[in-house]
Symmetry: C2
Subunit: 341 residues, 2 copies
Amino acid sequence: MKPVITIHDIAKKAKVSLATVSLVLNRKGRISEKTQERVRKAVREMNYSPNYSGRILRRKCSQQIALLYYPRASAIFNNPFYSKIIEGLLERLSQNKYNIVLGNCDLSEESFTIPDYLQNGSVDALILTGDLPEKAALHFSDLRIPILLLDSFSKHLAADSLTSDGFQGVMDSIDHLVSLGHRHIAYVTHELDLYNVQTRINGFKAAIQKNSLPLLGCPLIRMPVGKNVEWLAQEVLKATRSKAPITAFVAVNDTIAFWVSHFLQKEAIQLPRFLSFIGFDDDEEYSQRDIPMTTISVPKREIGIRAAEIILTRISNSDLPLQKVVIPVSLVRRNSTVVVK
Amino acid sequence: MKPVITIHDIAKKAKVSLATVSLVLNRKGRISEKTQERVRKAVREMNYSPNYSGRILRRKCSQQIALLYYPRASAIFNNPFYSKIIEGLLERLSQNKYNIVLGNCDLSEESFTIPDYLQNGSVDALILTGDLPEKAALHFSDLRIPILLLDSFSKHLAADSLTSDGFQGVMDSIDHLVSLGHRHIAYVTHELDLYNVQTRINGFKAAIQKNSLPLLGCPLIRMPVGKNVEWLAQEVLKATRSKAPITAFVAVNDTIAFWVSHFLQKEAIQLPRFLSFIGFDDDEEYSQRDIPMTTISVPKREIGIRAAEIILTRISNSDLPLQKVVIPVSLVRRNSTVVVK
DNA sequence: TTGTATGCGTTATCAT
DNA sequence: ATGATAACGCATACAA
C-alpha cells in the first residue's frame, strides 16, 4: 500500500508551511503567484487530495446529502418516474461537489428509529421522496439537518417542499375530456393518505364544479387497502354500467391508468372508443404502451435540478423562510382520449 | 439550532472521562456494569450520536462505498437488472453499517479524471458496474482503495470480480434449442468490447462445437456502432432467408431479444412459430411481455448480497488473493422456444 | 476499572 | 506574503 499523502508532505516538498498550502488550495489569502505555482506543482506531482475526514471535521459540512425513498431506499432503482428526477438531482448536486448517500432505512417498519448516519454529521441534508405518508415524514421532525420533501408535502414537518402541480394537472385533464364532450368522468386512485393524492382529488372536485358536471356521474373510485388494481378495474367497469354511466376516467398516475385499461381490455372492453382515459406522470414505461396514453407530463429532470438547488440554498442559508415550490405540468394528448360516443 | 452533543457532554453528564464513554460505546475494555449503564443512560437522554468526521478521522475508515455505474451514475436508476442487484447489495451493506455513495462520474468522457471523493478517504472501496468496457476500468488502476468489478472483469485491473456464468448460460440456451430440433441458430449481440459479451460468444462457439452444428447456419450477428436494434432485426430477418436459414436466435440479453422480436413481429413474422428465441437476464420488464420469453435467469438479489460480502471482506482483509467469482445461472423455459417446424 | 494525554489531517486565527 | 498554532471530536496507548 502506497503511503497516504498529507498536507504536511506537500508543505515539505514545496518548502512552505501547512497554512500556505491550505490557503493556496482553498483560494483564500493572497499568496504570491510563485509560491502558488510551487504548491500546485507539488500537489500535482504527489497526486495529493485533501483528506476527507480532516476537512469535514474542520468545515463541519460533509458535502453529502442523504436520499431516502419510501418505503425502502433500494426500491428507488426500479421506478421510471424517480429515475429521471434523480438524474437531474445528481447532476446538479455534483456541480457543487455534493454526493448522494444511500442507506437502507425502512420507513414502513413499526419500530422505526432514525439511523445514525442521519444525525452524526455525515450528511448535510436529507431528501425524502417516494409516496411518503404524512406519518412517515413525521419521524424526522427532530432531525438537526434541513429536509426537502421531494414530491410531497407536510403541514407538520418543518421542511422545504417541491411538488408538481397535481391540482392543475387534473383540472386540465377534466377540461380536456369535457372539450371532447365527456360529462361523466370517474377519478381513479389508490387509497393512501398522500399529499399528491389529496391535491389531485381536490383538482378533480374543483373541475367538476367549474364545468358544472353532474356529481352522480363523476364518482371518486379509491382502492382500499388489501385490494389490487384488478379490483379497481372492476369498479371502473361497474361505473360504466351505473345509472349515470361514465365515458372516461382519470387516474392518479400512469401505472394505475395503464393497468386498469389493461384489465378492461381483457374484459373485451373497447378502449378508448368505449372509455377514454388519462394518466399522470408521463412515464415512458406505461404511457407508450399499446394505446399511447393521454397524460400529464411532468418535467422530471427539471424537478431534480430544482430540488438540488433548493437543498443547496437551504444548506448555505438556513435562515430563509421555508419554501413550497410547485412545478407546472402540461397535458400531452395521445390516443387514449376520444370524442364521446 | 440545537447545540451539538459531543462525547464531552456525555462524559460530564455521566460523571466519567471521555475515554470511558468511548470504551463503553465501542464495547472495548472492561467497564463496570454500573458505569456502563450510567453512560448509556446519558447517551439516551441526550440523544447522542458519535460525530462522523471525528470518528472516521481516527478510525481511518468511512463506512461508505462508492458505486459507479457505466456510463453515468444516474443511469443506474433506470435499469431493472441492476435495480434488484442493488437491493441485495444495499441490504447487506447496511447490516455492517455501510452506506453507498453515489457521485456523478462520467466514465465515457474523453478527458476523464478521477473525482476527489474516490481518493480522499471518503469511501473505503469502489464498486464498478454497468456494461463496463475494459478501457474505462483501467482509469482506476492507481486508486488506493479496493475495487470490485460487479458483472464485469478485467485482466489488467487488480480487482475482485463477480459475474454471472455467461458461458454456461449460452451453452444451456443452445442445448435447449438443439433438444427442440433446432440446428441453425444465430447469436445476436451489440458490438461492444465487453467481458460479458465475449464470454457469452465463447459459450456460443463452444456449444456449436459440442452439438456439431453447421457453422454456416449459426451466424454471429453483431450490431456495429451507429446502428440500432431495428438494424439488428433486419439482419436476423436476412438470416432466416439465407442459404442455411436460421430457425432460432439467442440474444445477449432480454432487452435485445425483446426488441428484435418486436420488430420482427411488425414485419409480420410469426413468433415463436417461425423463429424461436432466447434472452438473458430474466428481467420482468422484458421477459414477461406479450410472448413470455425463454431466458437465462440470473439470481440478481443474491449477486448483490454476494457483492457486498466480497467487498466487505476485502476491506477488512486486503491481503487475501483477488477473487473471481462466477455465479451459476439457469434456463427458464417459457413460450418463445418451440419445436422446430 | 477508569482517567490523562496524544494524534488523526484539516482549516482558520493571529502573529510576524 | 507567509508561518506558528489552536481547535474540530474521537479513539487509544499508557498511566494510575
